[in-house]
Structure formats: structure tokens, C-alpha cells
Amino acid sequence: MEAILEMRNIVKRFGDVVANDHVNLKVRKGEIHGLLGENGAGKTTLMNVLYGIYQPDEGEIIFEGRKVRFKSPRDAISAGIGMVHQHFMLVPRMNVLQNVILGYRTPSDPLINHKWVESKVEKLSEKYGIDIALYEVVMNLSVGEEQRVEILKALFRDVKLLILDEPTAVLTPQEVDSLFYALKSMTKSGLTIIFITHKLKEALKVTDRITVLRKGKNVGTVITAETSERELARMMVGRDVVMDVAKPEVEFGREVLRVEDLWVKDDRGGFAVKGVSFSIREGEIFGIAGVSGNGQKELEEAIAGLRTPARGKILLDGKDITKLGVEKRNEIAYVPEDRIGVGLAPSLSVLENLMLKDFKKYRKGLVLDYEKMEERAKELIEEFSVKTPSLHSPASTLSGGNIQRLILARELSRSPRLIIASQPTRGLDVAGIDYVRRRLVESAAKGCAVLLISEDLDEIFQISDRIAVIFEGEIRGIMERKEADYERVGYLMAGGLEVAV
């Protein structure tokens, strides 16, 4: 099969960072080509170079047999390349139709020929099974729908090559399935797709061939049908990885956390958590699955003591803590979703961040005993292998994985009864993910109760004992992991209701 695109020896530097280091990529016409790599591997950069957002420092691009040089996305679009970014770029206040034709000249330009647009969109929708209400304002759409608008926008411009940057990160399993279906049908009508992901299972499921990037370098291209999860993981990480932390079966002890009919308001004053009840026992990991923004943040903050519930009760070891402040909830460890914005004072040192909750314990007379604090901090850094140039470097200089280790070190070392871990592995590399999950499982084994809140279903299924689904502030079904399956959880995550059997 002929190549539609060839990128040769692409080099792109940002200051000292070499984001793309002599990368080669060859994409065949009509295939779905996976671009796989960990966070920071350089996938987005490579595609931004192709799309004309960045100019490469070295290397050349050959598109449809001709050497090209795109000075801006406009050039790339007119050559027939479309890109759906990791973060969508729609105008929230405009409707779908306006967004689709933004920057596009319809035949009656400067007037907009609505009929013409409608019929063109209709044809596309039919062909690829992408359904969307044209006159709905983008603000009111779900994330999945927004993504469809982005795709439609690209298709509308008759692209030959469509780039999707981590398109599944924000979707429910059902939405992922329908996206994959649409992608397959696009390739059948001759389109070529570059599909960026860091999830092995997805790459294996939907692509024809896969190119793996690691630390800005091209590791190799494999045929999907001939590879395996293990091989891909090795290519991605550079060594063998054991990918299954498993939660051992343990006898659960006493009940640690009990939440009764909890109602919590969000910042705008509406109810984000609506009558949630559940309990977690010693040794148990309770996973709450759900698409972000369904009340998880408010729920975790209420339990951690950062947000006062409007109604309901929170009991820790039988004691009512609903009204207590954070400082009186020392038995709760909290790994917040927004690590840098909430869990850290980035401009302060690693030492200060490690001592964020315990510094008062180091009072000696009028002043703090910094020597003792440093000693303790050193132990923690050792135990949790936080890589930092020194105790006195600002925490903001640490990598994402090390920031999470720092937070874990602080939180888990305070011998908590309950651990709230919210999206604890989001944005981490494979090694980091593995480390965090292992720590959570270990803590549970030692008798902690763990509340795991995550969008990542693999994570939920991998280490939870029981699984609950949250949708629009309500818990939709709590099940033992053994009884749960992806379809059922995904269905509930998307707002489906459980029918009594």
C-alpha cells in the first residue's frame, strides 16, 4: 500500500528539551495508525509539527508524494489534514453549525448557506454514523458530543488525513466504542487516521499499525495483528513491566467510613452530590467510577473536610465528623485530584511540602526544629523514592510522578485510617501508575480503608473490592468487583439506570 505521509528525521526542541529526536513516521493510505507513548514522549509535538503549529528544527515532511512545509494549520487544512486536539478548540457560545463552518467559505460566501451546510453535514453523519444536533449551542454539549463536533469539523473540510490526539481520555466506554466504529467506517471510505494514545488496549483494539515513541525517539513501528500488550509495553517503557498489581483478597475488618444521605453543594450553589450513601471497611478498596464532573470533587472534599455538606452525615470509626474541620480529621489521608493546585504549595520547598500538615508537631519552644524536620523528610524521600535534587528545591521542579510520590509520602506516612485517592494516576507514566496502585493496595492490606475515585475503568477494576458508579451526583449501583463488568459500569457511567431484576 502506498504511503500518504512520511515524516523524516523530525527534530523539535523546546529550549533544552528535545521533544522529537530524529523521528521517522510512515503512514499508509487508508490505515488507522496508532501513535503510542507515555506522557511527555513527544506525540502531541510531532503531530503539531505535522499540522503546522510548530516548525521542525530539522527534518522533512512528505505528504501525498510531495515535500511540504506547513507554515500554519491553515496550510495543513488546505492540504487535507485535520486535527482534533487533546483539548478541544470550539467556541462555547456558538452553535454546532457555526463552529463547524468557522473559517470555512461556503459557496455563497460571505453569506452562510444554511441549507447547503445542513445537507453536507447530513451526508457526513449518515456515512460515518456521527449524530449531532446542528443548532445546539456547544456550551450545552457533553464532552463526547463536543468531540464529535470537532471530528465533523475536520470531515467537513474533506480531509484525507485525520489526527486524533488522545481522543478517548474523556469518553465513557460506550462513547469509545461508537468512536471506534466511526473511525473504522472512515477508513473504509479512504480516509487515513493517526490515533494518538497512551493506552495499550485501545491501540491494540482499533489500529492497523502502531508507531511507539519513547522520550522523543522513535522506538519502532509494528503491525497490530502481530504484536501484544507485553511487547508494546516494553517498547513504550524500555524494559519489562509487570502490569498487574492485584488486590489480594483479605478479610475486611470493622467499618471505617460511613457516609449517610450526603448532599453537597458545588461552588455555584447547586447540589453536586445528591443523597450519597456508602461505607468502607478496614482493608477494603472502594472504587467510585464516573466521568469527571459528576460530583466526585465535591464528594471527596466533603469527606476530607474542605467543603461543608448541606445535609447528611459522615462517620469515621463510628464518630460523627460531619462538622469537623480538616485539622481535626487527621486520620484521613487525601490525595486530591488537583495535585498541584490543592495538594501542594509549588513555590515552597520539598521539605516544606512534606511537612505541610505536620509542622506544628516539630515545635521546640518558640521555633520549629528544622533539623528534626529534615531528618524525617529524608526518611520519607527515601521510603517513597521521591527523586529531587535536594530537600530545599521548590516542589514545582519535580516531575509529575515525583510530585505524586511526595504527596503519597506525606499522606500515607501519617498512619491514616482512611485514604481518599482521587484520580491518583492521571498523567503518570507506567512506572508511576504501577507504584501508586501498589501503595494503595499495600495500605489496604495494612488495614486502611481506601476510597478510590477514578475515571480510569482499568484502574477501578484492577484494585477495587467493590465498585460504585457516580452519575450527576448520585450513586448508581454498588457492586462487588466479581459481579461487575465493563459494560454494566460503562452503562451506568453514561447515565443508564439499573433495572431491578
Binding site: G343, A345, S347, E352, L356, L368
Partner: protein, 333 residues
Amino acid sequence: MRWNYLAPVISIVASLAVVGVMLAVMGINPLEAYIVMFSRSFASKFGLAELCVKTTPLILTGLAVAIPLRAGLWNIGAEGQLYMGAFAASVVALYINLPEFLVIPLMMAAGAIFGMGWAAIPAFLKAKFDLNEIISTLLLNYVAIYWVEYMVYGPMRGKEVYNFPYTDLFPDAATLPRFFGTRLHLGFLIAILIAIAIYHILKRTDFGFAVRVVGANPRAADYAGISRQKIIFYSMLLGGMLAGIAGMIEVSGIQLRLRPAISTGYGYAGIPVALLASGNPLLVILSASLFGFLYVGGSALQTTYSVPVAIVYVFQALIVLFIIGGQSLRRGD
């Protein structure tokens, strides 16, 4: 990181350059003018003493801004706090009969308490209702300044002042000792000791730790169970206290009575002093000296070239602009 050290230097040099251009436009050779400023401040014992005299209140108001700034708050009210401190100290000096050795300590305590009380109002409003402290501290300045004016035109006007809006001179026991036959007084030493003490408080105590966390990331403070309200309240109070002491020192060391305009904008100058020192109490001593130099040099310019003293405020404003401008430029990249 290097920017942190370079920024103040660049701002100062840039301000010097702009003021130089302005002087040139007025027909004054800027180089000569700067030499005049220098020789008047450094070439004699009296010059040096004046430098210290001007630096003294600036150290304290600089700290009064710097401490809340470390907690992420803007205390624009040091001027008013200074006036209230001066007022309270004057009341003690003039109307309360005390054993002599107690007069100065009690004046200082009264100044501290009134400065603190004046800061407590915006601090409370901020902690409780999240009312913007910039506005409340600024507006309270006018109240304090006019209050002092009212007092010296009215109830506190002295018997021996021929209708001037002054109080009577303080008794000797209520004035700070002076040295070397100059106006240099004990207040200078007190200000420096206070700066050193504040440095250690911020660096070593749990209060200082909490202030740093609140200033660095208020949400992390909430998360860690550090009471943001308390820190806001106390850091503002501490700042007000120091500004109040500055007021006491000004009346007891220099003016020797209460009158309007005891401060030539020391409270406002505390803002660039604190910014230039990026909130570090020890560096505040340095940046206060720089501004003290500007005051002394500025009046030298006035007497030599009859340039209005306003040039000093132009200079101050430029430094603030350059620092803030530099910061936003840095954020832009």
C-alpha cells in the same frame, strides 16, 4: 531564580535612567544631580544621620507591608496605621502621668496597639467576609489622617503654639535619646532589631511556616488544615503593629509633638520597599535605606536646583511600575 536577584537591580537602574531623562529635560545634568544626592547623604555625619532618620520609619512600614504580602495580602494602609500609632503615643506622652522610665515603653505599647487595632478592621473584614483589603486599608488611611488633623486643630491643640495646628512639645521623658549631636535617635536601632526579629519569626516559627503556605497557595493551606482566616488576621495585625510603632518613633524621635503631615508618605513608600525586598525582612533594611537615600537626596535636589521634592515620589512610583511590569512580563513567557 536569577531573576529574583536581578529584578530589583534592573528596576532601580531603569528608574534612575528615566528620572535622569526627566532631570535633563528640566535642564539639569543628571550625573551632577546624582552626585549632589550622594554627597549630601554620605559625605558628612549629618548626612548619614539624616539617612538613618529617614530609613527608620521606612524599615517599619516596609515590614508592615512585607509581612501581609508574604501571606498574599496587600496592606496599603501602613500610612493610616502609622498615624494612629503616632496619635496614641502622643496621648500617652501629653496626658498621662507616669514614672519617667515607663513613658517611652508605654508610648510604644500604645502606638503598637493602635496601629494593630487600625489594621484589625480590614483584617477582620477580609477574614470574615473576604472584603478586598486593598480598598479597605487604603480608605482607612484617610480616616486616620483626618482624625489626627481634627485632633490637632481641636481637642489636642497645644497652649503654646500660637494657633498652629500642633500639640505642645512632648516632655523630655517622652522623647527618644539622640546621638552624636545629630538627629539620629534610638528608633533607628529599634527598627533594625525589629526587622531581625521578624526575619526569625517568619523563618523559624510555625506562624512563619503557615504564613508561607497561605501566601504560596491558599488552597493548599485549606487542604492542610491551616486556618487561612487566622493567618490573614494575624499577619495583618502584626503589620499594623509595626506601622503603629513607626508612628510612635516618628513623633517621639523627630517631631517631638503631634501635628498634621507627620509622615511624608512613609506608609505608601513601604509598598515599594517591601516589593523591592520581595518580602524578606532583612532585605527590607536595605531597600528602606535606598528609599531613605531618595528622601535625603531629593531634598538636596530641592535646595540645590529647586527641583520639587515630588521627584522622589516619581522615582518611587517608577520602581513599583518596573517591578510589577517585570513580573507580568515574566509571567507572559
